[in-house]
Amino acid sequence: MAPAEIRTAIIDILGDIAPDEDLSNLDDQQSFRDQMELDSMDFLDIVMELRKRYRVQVPEEDYTNLDSMASTVSYLTPKMVAVA
């Protein structure tokens, strides 16, 4: 997957986790938490959906990489390079 595709995948996951949020104006550089109502269970949902949809494992020590869209895409790009 290319970075743009990963971004779309994350948007899809966020849309399911936080269906009441408007994601159209998401600032990729800003922390998700500063823009959306997300708690620790929601972040676990992101990790779980990556595992279920793309078989991507995000170890606990790497959770801080899921802070913003930019950091998430950057972190996932090498992990998802082989994902169709």
Binding site: D16, I17, P19, E37, M41, L44, R51
Partner: protein
């Protein structure tokens, strides 16, 4: 046996009244819609399909989840939680209480459930089956969804209630049990306002359908609206339904202070146990439970205008309850007997609370809703006073009696008095 004081001799702060109610049933999402359906023969039973089990019939609710809950919270929580939140919010709105200025540390949430967690567990097992049963994809939401207090806890969370909340697991007597718990906690001054009743999400688990089917106790009929037919000779089992009904309960003294509308006063209640069988009811113990509730209300069977039966449409269950009801009310010429499951199926943990609500409006309109689908009355269910197929105007209603029984021989009864 301890004697209970006459209800009218109790001080007002020991008398508990119903000042609001919120419900969702398969044939109505408010007391007005529900009552209208009951008086006009509208069934809420539909064709239904459930995972693994396949086609069947069920009572399905269509309340607007988003009315009181964000989509995010509905997704994170359970169906029972959503049912509970809808009912609780509607019950408070109906009571006219100034919720924004209510001390929620003095609000108690007491929710009867038949079971909880089956739906969520079953869904997760189905989910991991798509991943070769890899438990690493088992959701982290599983435990908060399946803890037994979940439906009550979701209500408390949604409404920022910081008083006590818990569920009462009482099989299909749970709706009454929730109501009784609310009354007791108000009398003990554990809370100043109680949200009490029962909820059910059971139609979302295949296990309950498959279990009743294996037991030979699941209703089938070509016309789903005819499938639930307690007392009819051709009844063939239970129609499973979802739903909820919660009451706003207050001490009479508080209700008077705020000049609240009062639906009725809980003047008697009882719970006991058969201790004879896992499934089969014991009419002797049921009759004892009924008499205990009457004694506590200081009334005789003749004083009761309406008896709402528990009958679920099973062969033996209906006959045995009729035996108990006949034993207590058989000689009463002004006592009318009906059944609500014939319209909506068996709402399990909500049944006692919902079925009471449908009858409660008789205090206002003096009409007894019927038990429908009785084309050929089973002679063994022929009790004096049965109201069948058409509503009956009876004039002033002073006492309504509500039966609710469940597996493992749990029996409950509640007596409501006109105020």
């Amino acid at each position: 046996m301890p004697s209970f004081p006459h209800p009218t001799e109790l001080p007002d702060d020991q008398r508990v009244v119903i000042t609001g109610l919120g419900l969702t049933s398969p044939n109505g999402n408010s007391i007005g819609e529900f009552r209208d359906s009951l008086l006009n023969g509208r069934s809420g039973i539909k064709d239904y399909e459930v995972r693994y089990f396949g086609k069947t019939v069920a009572g399905v609710c269509d309340f607007d989840v988003k009315r009181h809950q964000s989509r995010r919270d509905a997704r994170r929580g359970t169906r029972a939680g959503s049912v509970g939140i809808y009912c609780a919010r509607e019950a408070i709105a109906d009571s006219g209480i100034d919720w924004d200025n209510t001390d929620t540390s003095r609000v108690g949430v007491y929710i009867g459930i038949t079971e909880h967690g089956n739906v969520e567990t079953e869904s997760e097992i189905y989910e991991i089956s798509k991943f070769e049963y890899d438990t690493s994809v088992w959701t982290h939401h599983h435990n908060p969804r399946t803890v037994a207090n979940n439906p009550a806890g979701e209500i408390a969370l949604n409404m920022s209630i910081t008083g006590p909340h818990y569920t009462i697991g009482a099989a299909c007597a749970a709706g009454n049990a929730g109501l009784i718990q609310g009354l007791q906690m108000l009398r003990l001054k554990e809370c100043d306002l109680a949200l009490a009743g029962g909820v059910s999400e059971s139609i979302h688990t295949f296990g309950i359908f498959a279990g009743f089917n294996s037991q030979g106790a699941l209703a089938t009929h070509q016309d789903p609206t005819k499938a639930s037919r307690p007392f009819d000779l051709n009844r063939n089992g239970i129609v499973v339904a979802e739903g909820g009904c919660l009451y706003t309960l207050e001490r009479l003294s508080d209700a008077k202070t705020r000049s609240a509308k009062v639906y009725g006063e809980i003047v008697g209640y009882a719970m006991n146990t058969d201790a004879t069988d896992f499934v089969l009811p014991n009419p002797t113990r049921q009759a004892e439970c009924i008499r205990m509730a009457l004694d506590r209300a200081h009334i005789t069977p003749e004083n009761v205008n309406i008896v709402s039966t528990h009958a679920t449409g099973t062969g033996m269950g209906d006959i045995l309850e009729c035996e108990a009801v006949r034993d207590v009310f058989g000689e009463c010429n002004n006592t009318h007997i009906n059944n609500t499951k014939s319209f909506i199926g068996h709402t399990m943990g909500a049944a006692g609370a919902i079925e009471l609500a449908g009858n409660l409006m008789a205090f206002e309109d003096g009409v007894v809703h019927p038990s429908i689908n009785v084309d050929d009355l089973d002679p063994e269910c022929a009790i004096n006073g049965l109201v069948l197929n058409e509503p009956k105007e009876i004039g002033t209603v002073d006492y309504i009696f509500n039966n609710s029984f469940g597996m493992l021989g749990i029996n409950s009864a509640v007596v409501i008095k006109r105020t």
